[in-house]
Amino acid sequence: MRENIKKLVAKAKIPFLEVHIEERQGVEISYAGKELDSLNQYIDIGGNVRAFSRGVWSFASFNDFNELESHINFVSQHVRIGRRNNRGKLAIAEPYVDEITVKMDDDPREIPIYEKVKTVKSYNSIILRSKKIQSSRVRYADTFQRRFYINSEGADIVEEKIYCGISFIAIAKDGMNVQMMKKSKGGTRGFHTVCGLEEDAEGVKKDAIDLLKAKKVKAGMYTLVADPVLTGVFAHEAFGHLSEADFVYMNNKMQKIMQLGRRFGSKELSIVDDGTICGERGSYKYDDEGVQSRCNILINKGILVGRLHSRESAEKMSEKPTGNARAISYRYHPIVRMTNTFIKKGNMTFNELIGDIENGIYAVDALGGQTELEMFTFSSAKAYIIKNGRIGPMVRDVVITGNVFETLKNIDGIGNDMELHGGLGGCGKDGQSPLPTAQGGPHIRIRNVVIGGK
């Protein structure tokens, strides 16, 4: 089929044409309460073609390969109509010819279904082993993905990936008071990623029960210490999305705000997006435009030094492609996305971070995060009062909001630990969700954080 595609691509009279073909297969298992809620095994095969000419794209996705030629005709025709009065090129990228196959000792495809079910069931029964737990959800998913990429410049890449992960949710209830705790683990390392997590399941159960008794946080301004998961959500949601150049390049005012060389934080603050870290959920060798992933430093010692690009945005800003053009599946065109995003570790111990805080909040894990570029909001899964340098009682409903530029400047302490979290979910942007990413960092301390609540 690849030879046939190459012939069709060569025939098209368009400056740039690319074809993706994707095969996915996987298993999803989910327990809700005592019962197996779903066990879903699937085979998904599809593809897309995309054409570019003078700043204009056209894209067609499909499941039926017999009509490939008509899809190529569609994009060729539409890009010709659209390009009138437009200009634009793509940054030069080396057309790689490569084949990456996955080999691992514990390939999830080789693990029998009953063993996967057994694993999920055992964690689920740990969570349910308390009268205060009303319900649970344990979800397991593995995906094998093989993606072919061919473009009119000669790139011909096959890359295989395997994702495997699990998530735990515990719901505790006392009358109208319903509390939830969740946690997830995931990556590209194989089935052992989801093994031996009994302590995590216990932790989720305990936290949900403890949250029933926790008081709502009193709204106000606090000094906040974020754990590595929340630090990751901040690095990704609040700052990371601003580094995605597909938005910046179209907007002069944004370009001024996101000018390289501008100071964003203290000398201790460095933020990195690195798609090359082995085994992490956001890692890959080639992005969906055939550009190699790499380690991109975004903030170095407080100064903005880089951003994330597709071939289009790189050309528009006269910078180099960074290997960040990604699509969640063949049904979508690639857009600029993050990989594994984190704040680099510093040198403060946890006790040093909280030591001089009179009245603060230690926020742990995130239920979610959302951003409108400048403004962000995210909620921690659980939190504790910090009183006179010591961790105090648990509080709930800690929702943090702020302006990213001010908040970055208000980071005044960076811990000496470091964790990356992949999980099962991922990032959402422009209707494409979830895209596998990882995020993390050390514990960090932020001054003057607005927390909504009671």
């Binding site: 085979i43 095969i45 499941n63 899809h71 319903v178 403004m375 929702v399 607005v450």
Partner: protein, 431 residues
Amino acid sequence: MNEILDSAKKLVNEAEIFCIKGKEFPVVFKANRFYTSEKKDFEGLGIRVINKGKLGFANTTKVEACGAILDFAKNASKYGELAKFAFPEKVKMKPIKTFYKCVKKITQDEIKERSYYLIKEILKKEKGAKIDIEFKMAEWKIRIMNTKGLDVTYQKTQTSMNLLIFLVIDSSFTWIYKIKVSPKKIFINKKDLKELLKKVELTKKVVTVNSGTMSVIFMPSVMPMHLRSFMMGVNGKLIQKGSSPIKHKKNKKLLDKRVTIYDNALLNGGVRSRPFDSEGVASRRIPIFKNGVLKNFLFDLQTAGILGKKSTGSAVRGFDEMPYPGMSNIIVSPGKWSVADMVKDIKDGIIVHNVIGGGQSNLLAGDFSCNVSLGFKIKDGRIVGRVKNTMVAGNVYDAMNNIEGIGKKIDNIGSFYTPAFYFKSLNIVSR
């Protein structure tokens, strides 16, 4: 499709095929310019089986792979939940129009002409604005078949238009947007444009607001966040699992008596209107809250079966998942207030048009705590400027007992049809 069902009969006791096939045509303008025009063909097929009394499921986008998929589904049934229902043999449905031919007649030229007009008019008023527009038209066909003899189909059309104005005012970002969606032909029109430009004008003056409790108007665009909490509360799955906080509250008055909410899959021209649900059970109009009293929960066949109830025709699903109870069109009855009168009535308060972070709180419990991404301060009955760095928080079950007034005009926000709500007092945190 019949052959798949025939081979299923040999392999398992009962089987159901859910099939979707369609096309979507997005046209996108980015930063004031035409950017891409796309075509997305899609098809998918989910097979649900009952074997030895237990449920199994598998799915594919490749019809040729159905043999393997059938085996997957059978294998899955070994571990599956006990089926507490039988597949329906037939469906007695009321006719409802879901397919509009006019959608198929929309041309690229018409979309471009209308989009360029909107961009031009906005740029006239606001030179530095960056405008993104996405117009989509789609048509698809749903077919449900089972080994009990059911074989039903309906076709659906949909158009949607999103317009996003991005402004940088004093190095601070502002987003103003409008989203419209309908099974009919729909565009953002001159009236919508006028409203958008009015908002642009209002955002230019930023004012501070003090933290504390005050009157708050939630425009219809914000209401789905609150309504989602109710929809979770009445979801048959959460009732069955016991995690709904209103599980034991049927026929109890939970909200202000002016609050009436229906789930209506038979709404004329509704975004989620359909003659039958995703299991082939006939659609109907279901009262959720009537004058503040909780009237019904939403069930699919399995959750209803477990609880000894009847399906409310509320099964929703994609081809790649098992059905579960969910909402169709949510219709909130209007009140007597105009938004202008609400503003006039407020001495100190805010009017909220958009929020971010609405989904992050404990939605099931009805809690909300979100950043006001577009909202204005009201002082002595007048809008005085935009608020920033402000959060609004509360609990929707409490708030809905603390209503000053309900708007008289219903707006359609996706599949939610709701008026604005005016609350006496909510918590505002700001700096």
